[in-house]
């Protein structure tokens, strides 16, 4: 079996065991941190579909996380509690917004695509800050959370943990599956050589748009769960720095690799937690660490863990 698949299975088995194992060693509170990392990983997986597989570097992806979170929060406030209904609302809204913004943004490529997605992200950010009825700048604290047909299993503790884990597994499976499919092949071809791909008979923009919409919808789902986990939404979710963090996660983990986005997300959350507990200015160390990793682990964390060990000398 291929190494990255084994690594993936190991990751998911470990995550599955955590809620049972951690309390045994008195570290049960860590599940909250793992949920945070898994939520980041879901958003990163969706961004890797764009950056890794599609070659489309978006600097506005966090906006879709925020949109998903706000769509669910606002629907929740207006009395819709069933998480499955909220899921549909989130998917519909993020999908719709992505269809509109994507068809404009995808007229460009490269640094222009980056700029235009940044602009859309900023528009989302300022739109959210202007929602006075929903907390404006300060964000919105939720006094009630989503339920599953009236049951609160999806609200806290292990119930929420397994919902997030299941969503992570589904996104991971779906994106990996898709990368091997006809669609994924066309997307990769368009990344490699868009002109040739068109002359093979594919309308490149159409495939990219579909990828953009799917990526936005997955990010939106992570937003819904972010809301459920944090019991709070705020425009900061859409800040461009969050989109930047997502790019870091994806690149650090390894572009277009099976487990890269998950590894990158856990790396970021763990480093932030560890360094943050020592010094307040943890980013001072984090920055050079990133530089080091990008220079010396070019294929990302995923490559470090799955490629056969090579000596320093080139064989």
């Amino acid at each position: 079996m291929d190494r990255s698949l084994i690594l993936g299975l190991l990751i998911f088995l470990t995550l599955l065991a955590m809620p049972f194992a951690l309390p045994l060693i008195g570290q049960g509170y860590l599940t909250g941190l793992i949920i945070k990392a898994m939520l980041l990983a879901i958003a990163a997986i969706s961004l890797d579909l764009l950056i890794g597989h599609g070659g489309l570097v978006s600097l506005g992806h966090a906006a879709f996380v925020a949109l998903g979170a706000y769509a669910a929060a606002i629907a929740l406030q207006s009395g819709i509690e069933n998480i499955l209904v909220l899921l549909l609302i989130t998917l519909a809204l993020t999908g719709f917004v992505a269809l509109i913004t994507g068809s404009l943004a995808l007229r460009t490529t490269g640094v222009y695509f980056l700029m235009i997605t940044l602009a859309f992200g900023q528009m989302a950010y300022f739109t959210l800050t202007s929602l006075a009825a929903y907390g404006g700048d300060d964000g919105l604290t939720l006094w009630s959370l989503a339920t599953l047909f009236g049951s609160n299993v999806v609200q806290k503790g292990n119930g929420l943990y397994f919902i997030v884990l299941g969503t992570l597994l589904a996104s991971w499976w779906f994106v990996n599956r898709m990368s091997q499919s006809r669609f994924g092949r066309v997307l990769r071809a368009a990344r490699d050589n868009p002109e040739r791909t068109e002359v093979m008979g594919y309308s490149v923009t159409r495939y990219r748009l579909v990828a953009y919409v799917i990526a936005a919808m997955i990010a939106g789902v992570s937003g819904l769960l972010v809301m459920q986990h944090a019991e709070f939404v705020s425009p900061a979710l859409a800040a461009w720095q969050r989109s930047g963090d997502l790019i870091v996660v994806v690149v650090l983990g390894g572009l277009a690799t099976r487990n890269g986005a998950i590894l990158g997300a856990f790396f970021l959350v763990i480093v932030e937690e560890l360094l943050g507990s020592f010094i307040h200015e943890w980013r001072l160390i984090y920055g050079p660490l990133l530089v080091f990793m990008v220079l010396f682990a070019k294929g990302g964390l995923s490559d470090l863990l799955t490629s056969k060990r090579r000596g320093n000398q080139v064989a």
Binding site: F174, R177, M178, Q180, S181, R182, F183, G184, R185, V186, R188, A189, D192, N193, E195, R196, T197, E198, V199, M200, G201, Y202, S203, V204, Y207, V210
Partner: protein
């Protein structure tokens, strides 16, 4: 019946007339060669036929259908295949996968998200067919970026063939090939031309005399002579414009 018809095509880049009232009609199973000095507008003509450039005026018909306003992928779906003067393949794909994805575009929808494309036997056998046709069987699993120039030229042609075109546009297929490789490619094209009409842009005069039914000489965007290879060779205007310079 003519497969490809080019009617009064005009195109300017600024003040330069790169296509000046070009009219070409290519019959079924005919090989029509376009020759002309560097910068004459040959590639620009092919770009307009394949849809990568818009003509200022004029019309292009493929098997009677007006394709002038169609996009590039639509024209390919309508049956047009082409190769590039400067090799254009998918560098990170294997040779076989380059061919398989070319075949995929003519074999049902590609909006399929779950099934593993590499296991689709119809696509793989279409790819193997094209692979054999261009003689790259031994290189099936090599990443395209690692091929030699000559091999990449063959892959370029293979990609066009894997898409099962009804009409083939070839932009200097022999460009940069050695003597032996060139000869092999000519015999491959000789085989092809019996089953597929094509427009061939080429500098290699030996190849043209072997392959072409009709030769048009393009100079400064204008077709100055058009006729059988022998007639064109004998034509004083063509000699002055092109052949007289010595073939390259």
């Amino acid at each position: 019946m003519s497969t490809l018809e080019i009617l009064h095509l005009n195109k300017k880049f600024g003040a330069i007339n790169v296509s000046n009232d070009i009219c070409i009609s290519i019959a079924d199973n005919e090989c029509h060669a376009v020759i002309g000095p560097n910068g004459a507008g040959k590639t620009t003509l092919i770009h307009q036929i394949s849809g990568m450039l818009k003509p200022d005026s004029g019309a292009i018909k493929l098997s009677g259908q007006d394709i002038t306003n169609m996009g590039v992928p639509q024209r390919v779906q309508a049956g047009l295949g082409r190769t590039f003067q400067i090799t254009s393949v998918l560098p990170s794909f294997s040779v076989l996968e380059n061919l398989a994805i070319a075949a995929q575009s003519k074999s049902g929808s590609s909006m399929r998200f779950f099934a593993n494309a590499a296991r689709e036997s119809t696509l793989n056998s279409a790819a193997s067919n094209a692979l054999e046709r261009v003689g790259l069987e031994d290189r099936a699993d090599v990443i395209a970026a690692e091929l030699s120039h000559g091999e990449r030229r063959l892959l370029e042609l293979g990609i066009a063939l894997a898409g099962k075109p009804q009409f083939l546009l070839l932009d200097e297929p022999m460009a940069g090939l050695g003597r032996v490789e060139s000869a092999a490619l000519v015999s491959l094209l000789l085989e092809l031309r019996r089953s597929m009409p094509m427009l061939l842009v080429e500098h290699d005069m030996n190849a043209i005399f072997k392959l072409a039914d009709v030769v048009s000489v393009l100079v400064d965007g204008k077709i100055v002579v058009s006729g059988s290879p022998e007639a064109v060779r004998a034509d004083p205007a063509a000699r002055a414009a092109y052949l007289g310079e010595g073939s390259q």
